[in-house]
Amino acid sequence: MADREVTLSIFRFDPEKDKEGRFVDYKVPTVEGGMVVLDAVRYVQEKIDTTLAIRWNCKAARCGSCSAEINNRPALMCKTRIDTLGDRITVAPMRAFPVIRDLVTDVDENYRIMSKIPKFTVRKELMNPEAEGKKHQDVWRIQQINVERAKEFKKCIECFLCQDVCHVVREHKSGYFGPPRHIVKAASLDMHPLDIVNRAKFLNEEGGLGYCNITKCCQEVCPEHIHITDNAIIPEKERAVDLQYDPLMHAIKRRLMKKRGETVA
């Protein structure tokens, strides 16, 4: 049953026809109880204008496809309820990325950056523990505390909202990898007990980790509530300090890394 009508102002851009995008208003009847922005946008696509391009898949905040800027705030369309917003809702594509059409953006850049991060590199002796008279299940065992630290980052659904909200990525061409996905990915590998590569120096020098000024917008918009700044960026910054700014810690760290056979990327 139609409850009230909202005006949906959707960004439209067709690269074949338009030079630049514009907002078009659509009247959409809403239904009481759990209607989300994606439902409204799909209503427009099905009933009003079938040429509207959107990217969506699971409608359960699992796939990270329907990222957009709803009322200028980066959010998942499938997780933003209509009844939490006013009668006029603007829906725009993520502005940090080039628009392909309407609400669909080209996020390929993120995967290119991701491929630059040094891969998971396991300690050599773990590959063949029988040579040292140890069992596979003993050397590959990970303690619970280590699992907990890295598990949080595995929740990432790659919606790239954090990348979109980051003012360094969005407004300044600095070469910063961006907080979101990439530092989280690197942190999850760095905190893995079986991995022997330290990525902090690489992130600081090539990833532009120093450009981040801890303003925590990425943490605010994360639909999976990952503590991006507190648990990934700040620990990575501290690791970079260990290697590059703190002579005392550098000496200790160098000894520990030598003992464990770790390398700096």
Partner: protein
């Protein structure tokens, strides 16, 4: 102590947002979004100095016992034990400053084991108990660390309030209420 607060991760967020406006807010319509606006380089140029936060943290540790010494003196300065409202306020202040200092992100990394790649490996794999204890400390410190920003502002406000309160007592603006004599 001032430098410790200036380079603190919690205050960094506030002054980068509200003084330098990079960015002013997360919403695109609120913040002054302008690609031509020059960026101060985050923490790559002048603010690189913030990387030595942990040394300011070490410097602030010896100051903490003096807060508790103040509480002790406030109770016993008359030659006998007397608990007044001022002592309670000093005690609350000392507790908040301690919690703020020990919820620090740098402490989490350096002392609580956040910098370790692997808990069990660094602290001797043959002694799983010690690594479990260390893990427990890391969990506890992380829980405290989650409230670092709130603790930062509460302790700063308290510091100012306590200074004004003591000054007001000094000029006899109002009497120090004695609770237990």
């Amino acid at each position: 102590m001032g430098l410790f607060r200036l380079t603190c991760y919690a205050y960094r967020k506030d002054y980068h947002r509200h003084i330098f406006s990079h960015p002013m807010a997360c919403r695109a319509d609120v913040r002054h979004e302008n690609t031509k606006r020059k960026y101060n380089g985050g923490e790559t140029r002048f603010f690189r100095v913030e990387n030595v936060h942990r040394y300011f943290m070490y410097a602030s540790w010896p100051i903490i016992p003096f807060f508790f010494y103040d509480v002790y003196v406030s109770i016993t300065y008359k030659g006998f034990a007397e608990l007044s409202l001022g002592s309670i306020i000093l005690l609350i202040n000392a507790i908040f400053v301690t919690l703020y200092t020990f919820s620090c992100h740098s402490l989490r990394h350096v002392t609580a084991g956040g910098g370790a790649e692997c808990f069990g490996c660094v602290f001797n794999q043959s002694q799983p108990r010690s690594s479990a204890r260390w893990g427990g400390f890391f969990r506890f410190q992380s829980a405290l660390n989650r409230h670092h920003e709130a603790l930062a502002w509460t302790s700063l406000s308290l510091l100012i309030f306590v200074d004004l309160y003591i000054r007001a007592l000094g000029v006899h603006m109002f009497p120090n209420i004695i609770l237990i004599h």
